[in-house]
Subunit: 334 residues, 2 copies
């Protein structure tokens, strides 16, 4: 039986950790998960990660199959240095001031470790295993706690001058608009991320108590993005106003993405896209009406295809991608 | 004496035509210019272009030097199909419904003809002969009658799925802002192009006659972007308000470009940049304060370097670029 190359995909989130072993076709062989002990600091999180990786390695090698684990890919919130694998205090991982993640994990696991921004990793996952297969130019957006993006150009991830391209969540669409936690104003993320949907719904409900939102959530403070979606489905006017603003601004942002990149696909993933057509229908309508016809003609705005497994599969794609580049580079030298 | 390859660069604008012969180092050997007889339709413009090309060819071959003209590059307003060299009714060339420019010029000149969007051509000119030399990732913006852009990624022009990437002038920065002639609202171009500066100054002067603008221009209708710049230099409060809004919105747009592309350079060319530091100082201040520090650290926002010759040199760069790609492709096949 032929030897099959396998990588570990490691997804480091602010609320959960996930590790999976993945073969070159994108099949997941084994997985392990845990809550992120985020308050206990990076060393505790890394120890737990090592345990999860070892569990997955053992479970993988117990399976019938001639598997050889060759590398570890990691997706993590930025800012980070993808070349050196150093994490610089992502907002969702307080205390991770300058964590030499790649070096640390390599020392403790014995495999080469490759680190990438989580949105870039997800884009690579979609490119290799998901809806982006065979597509040269696409933009992946995750609409979640924040809005992250990965830009694929000519079939490759575009990282920019120092690895930080794709802050599309902080593209300003209202120059004197809502303040954003990044320090600017009117960013896409200030309107269309999960927390901003909840915040705007809370503000509206605090002013006007005549809304289903209060009945569904119990209190203003308990309103969450899911509450808004549920209230919209029941026809609540206040929730509908908040949701219409959300999808409108997201549509404007995606029109910008289309006008700037002239992509074949805009892939949308992340928690808020679970609203399905309630999100996609108005977003498509706004984006396609505001961008140039010559560009909208060639683009589709569609749900990302990897769903919940995008974290692990994206991280695995990072590892496969870097391994191939190494091979390519070696080939070029010879 | 070694044979030197030369190309013709042809710049087709709505007000003027320019042709120059250019060697591989970017030296201009001969030029010819004419006003664009835009009302007389494409056939008349093409005949005049052929005459200009023939003049430049003759003047080039009369010079001491072993020159061999090998191709013609053309920069023209879009939309257009750069692969097939077809022009589709650019706003500045009314009546050019479906002009097979490459085919037509090839038939009449006997050289291969390569066509590119004028902003893309300018970016290629800066990449090959100007401020973009040796830079992998930069964005060129021309702030002129419209706002065009060319995106260079990995040392190559990024064209997008069907050749229309880079409509950064129609990136929305105010979702409920000023109407734009493209049909959308709040586009960068609706605030920071030359005509929009003049239009906003006229609107303001029509409401409040107490402004130097009227003295300098003679009437509301005669206010031009240059009038606004002149009045700002003399401290006129109304002109200053219009100019501050202009540079602020342009700064916001460039902050977006930085957050999205993480480029090494943002090169600004076009008429409005002749205002010099009056434009660059506030634009830099706004852009650098609104984009992420990790990205602003690696970027410079600087004037494009080719000045008035960008049209001819950009078109020449298009020709050299495509010739090299041909050679490369042939090389790959062998």
């Amino acid at each position: 039986m032929n030897e099959q190359l396998v990588v570990l995909g490691v997804d480091i989130g602010g609320t959960k950790l996930a590790v999976g072993s993945v073969d070159a076709s994108g099949r997941i062989l084994a997985t392990a998960r845990a809550s992120t002990p985020v308050r206990e600091g990076p060393q505790r999180v890394l120890s737990l990660l090592i345990d999860l990786c070892k569990d997955v390695l053992a479970a993988t090698l117990r399976q019938a199959g001639n598997y050889r684990v060759v590398a570890v890919g990691v997706g993590c919130g930025g800012p980070l240095d993808p070349e050196r694998g150093i994490i610089y205090a992502p907002p969702n991982l307080p205390g991770w001031e300058e964590v030499h993640l790649a070096e640390d994990l390599t020392d403790r696991l014995g495999y080469p470790v490759y680190v990438e921004n989580d949105a870039n990793a997800a884009a690579l996952g979609e490119l290799r295993f998901g809806g982006g297969r065979g597509i040269k130019n696409f933009v992946y957006l995750t609409i979640s706690t924040g809005i992250g993006s990965g830009i694929v150009i000519g079939g490759k991830l575009y990282r920019g001058e120092n690895g930080n391209a794709g802050e599309i969540g902080h593209m300003c669409v209202a120059y004197d608009g809502r303040p954003c936690h990044c320090g600017s104003r009117g960013c896409l993320e200030a309107y269309a991320s999960g927390p901003s949907v909840a915040m705007r719904a809370r503000e509206a409900a605090a002013k006007d108590g005549n809304t289903l939102l209060l009945k569904l959530a119990g209190s203003v403070e308990a309103i969450r993005p899911e509450t808004v979606v549920a209230a919209v489905k029941q026809g609540d006017p206040l929730a509908t106003r908040v949701w219409e603003e959300t999808t409108f601004v997201l549509g404007v942002g995606i029109a910008n993405v289309i006008n700037i990149f002239n992509p074949r696909l805009v892939l949308l993933g992340g928690g808020l896209t679970q609203a399905g057509d309630l999100l996609f229908a108005p977003v498509r309508r706004v984006a396609l009406s505001r961008a140039f016809a010559r560009l909208t003609r060639v683009v589709d705005i569609v749900p990302a295809s990897l769903g919940e497994m995008v974290g692990v599969l994206g991280a695995a794609a990072v590892a496969f991608d870097r391994l191939e580049q190494r091979v390519m580079n070696v080939g070029n030298v010879i």
